[in-house]
């Protein structure tokens, strides 16, 4: 079950991307946070307890929503615009094949 529910932009141009190897579709104007959480209910695991996290402040302050791309680059999901072909890793050890 996704965490976020899209109320507008349902007809906006589609943007293809990957979550842990799974093909997904976002919409033009999505942040990475929106695009991921419209499909799944987590952005990452906490480094310490492994508990799931899905962002908090959505304005670049709390730093809870840093995700990793398959290439190793890290980005803050709430302030980064979704780009075609992004491969976002939300769970370590998955989707890297």
């Amino acid at each position: 079950m996704p965490l976020l529910h899209r109320l507008v932009r349902n007809e906006s141009p589609a943007i293809s991307f990957l979550i842990d190897g799974e093909p997904c579709e976002g919409r033009a104007g999505d942040t990475v946070l929106t695009a991921v959480l419209c499909h799944v209910e987590r952005l990452r695991d906490s480094e310490f307890s492994g508990a799931p996290r899905a962002g908090f402040c959505q304005m670049g302050a709390c730093q809870d929503c840093w995700v990793q791309l398959a290439g190793g680059e890290r980005l803050r999901a709430c302030t980064t615009e979704l780009v075609e072909g992004m491969h976002i890793i939300t769970r370590r050890g998955r989707g890297r094949g």
């Binding site: 899905a54 908090f56 709390c62």
Partner: protein, 464 residues
């Protein structure tokens, strides 16, 4: 005479926009650094792409103000050096380090207007790190800027005018708002009667929102106590005490916050003196009525200096820019400056009343459980903090940070600093003003290691 460096404005919300306009009108060409992709700040945030909604649908009663600010800023055009998607991460030796598109550069300035805005003030509650829990501001941004709801059946909890505004906006967007849990007692709302003559429009709009929520089936609870959020891997319910009984409400999204908290890191790096402010319950950079800080050439405006709202931010941004002009020996409109100061003083009186009507819970510290996460970055519990306070006889917040790493994580204490100070004050039986404040460190937000050195410096580095 050598040409003077341009003024630097940090932030492009209502304060930054008005400051920029005022400097441009006087013939200067300021640099404006904005973390966002477009001007407006958080309150008048613009979407990344058109989404079919007009200003009225997006900004509600504030649509005219939002449209005017966006239009005025756009009209500045090349009259300013606008740096969107840019992070000011350090201030040193009269220059700023600014990161944009993975490249950091040093920018010299002559005159600095800090309009850095605010985020939600948060005191941790059990379950606050669960997916589906967002700050009130975060829940609002999801709706306003991204057109998304944080759940199908949502509860909003905490305190502050934003609590009712966001709940009402979700209801209007067609989302089921199961409850509004106000941590403050109903009696506090009687203060709104005092606000009525100061700002009848604001008070009546707020009352109408609360009434409409109730009519639409939202349970509005005053004096909600011991709020906690539960669920396996995501939000499933919110639990609270009221009237001597425990209640639980099933929900899949929670917005939580306790008023707002100024972003003061840049002022700290600029060397500004700080003083404890009882209304915001935080150490804030000192400024006079004009917006001048304790450091010559550094000006403070908007919620980043002290919480007063967007209208005050517009006035303060313009006022601070007039001070900059005067200090630079340029002509400035002193009658306009005086009028702005009067307007700001009036809004300040209103804020005093609003803070009384929407107080932060005073009973937070005795209630918290030992296993509750105090710091969400480094996952440090309140129990660990309490043990450190006891074992090391800590009385100062930066010592607590050194021993426990609270405030040392990625958010640099933005989310846990207020709570750590409350805890330290309560356990050492000191006033909150006496436990110190977390010192800001550069970079004030995480930046990639590969780009942390400015290109200009690299060019001069013989090692390269």
């Amino acid at each position: 005479m050598a040409e003077r460096a341009p003024p630097l404005i940090v932030g492009a919300g209502p304060a930054g926009i008005r400051a920029a306009m005022t400097l441009v009108a006087a013939g200067l060409r300021p640099i404006v650094v904005d973390e966002s992709h477009a001007c407006g700040g958080q309150i008048y945030r613009q979407p990344l792409a058109a989404d079919g909604r007009g200003a009225k649908a997006r900004y509600g009663s504030e649509a005219a103000k939002a449209t005017r600010l966006h239009r005025d800023f756009a009209a500045l055009g090349t009259g300013i050096d606008y740096l969107p998607n840019s992070l000011l991460w350090n201030l040193r030796d009269g220059a700023a380090d600014i990161l944009r598109d993975g490249v950091s550069r040093r920018v010299s300035y002559d005159g600095l207007v800090l309009a850095t805005g605010a985020t939600d003030r948060v005191l941790p509650i059990p379950g606050w790190t669960l997916p589906g829990v967002f700050t009130l501001g975060g829940a609002q941004i999801a709706l306003k800027a991204q057109g998304c709801a944080i759940g199908r059946r949502v509860v909003f909890a905490g305190s502050g005018p934003l609590l009712y505004l966001v709940a009402w906006q979700y209801m209007k967007a067609g989302v089921e708002v199961a409850a509004v849990l106000d941590a403050a007692p109903l009696a506090a709302k009687l203060n709104l009667l005092r606000a009525l003559p100061l700002a009848p429009g604001i008070v009546l709009r707020g009352l109408r929102m609360a009434a409409e929520l109730t009519l639409c089936g939202t349970r509005v609870v005053f004096g909600a106590d011991r709020i906690s959020i539960e669920g396996e891997g995501r939000v499933a319910r919110i639990v609270y005490r009221n009237g001597g009984r425990e209640h639980a409400i099933a929900c899949d999204g929670v917005g939580y916050g306790l008023n707002l908290r100024p972003e003061t890191q840049a002022a700290d790096l600029a060397g500004c003196a700080f003083r404890f402010d009882p209304r915001d319950r935080a150490h804030l950079p000192v400024r006079d009525a004009s917006g001048r800080s304790s450091v010559a050439g550094v000006y403070l405006a908007g919620d980043g200096a002290r919480i007063a709202g967007a209208d005050a931010a517009e006035a303060a941004g313009e006022r601070a820019a007039l001070a900059l002009l005067q200090d630079r020996g340029l002509s400035h409109d002193s009658r306009r400056a005086a009028a702005l100061e009067r307007a700001l003083a009036k809004i300040d009186r209103l804020r005093d009343v609003l803070e009384a009507a929407f107080p932060c819970p005073s009973h937070w510290t005795p209630e918290i459980a030992d296993d509750m996460l105090l710091c969400r970055c480094e996952e440090i519990t309140s129990g660990e903090a309490l043990r450190a306070i006891r074992d090391f006889s800590l009385t100062e917040i930066n010592r607590l940070k050194a021993v426990t790493r609270i405030g040392m994580g990625r958010c640099q204490g933005r989310m846990c600093g207020a709570a750590a100070a409350e805890l330290l004050a309560a356990r050492t039986h000191r006033d909150i003003s006496a436990v110190g404040r977390l010192r800001a460190q550069a970079p004030i937000k995480p930046i990639p290691l590969a780009t942390s050195q400015s290109v200009d410096e690299r060019q001069h580095d013989p090692a390269h």
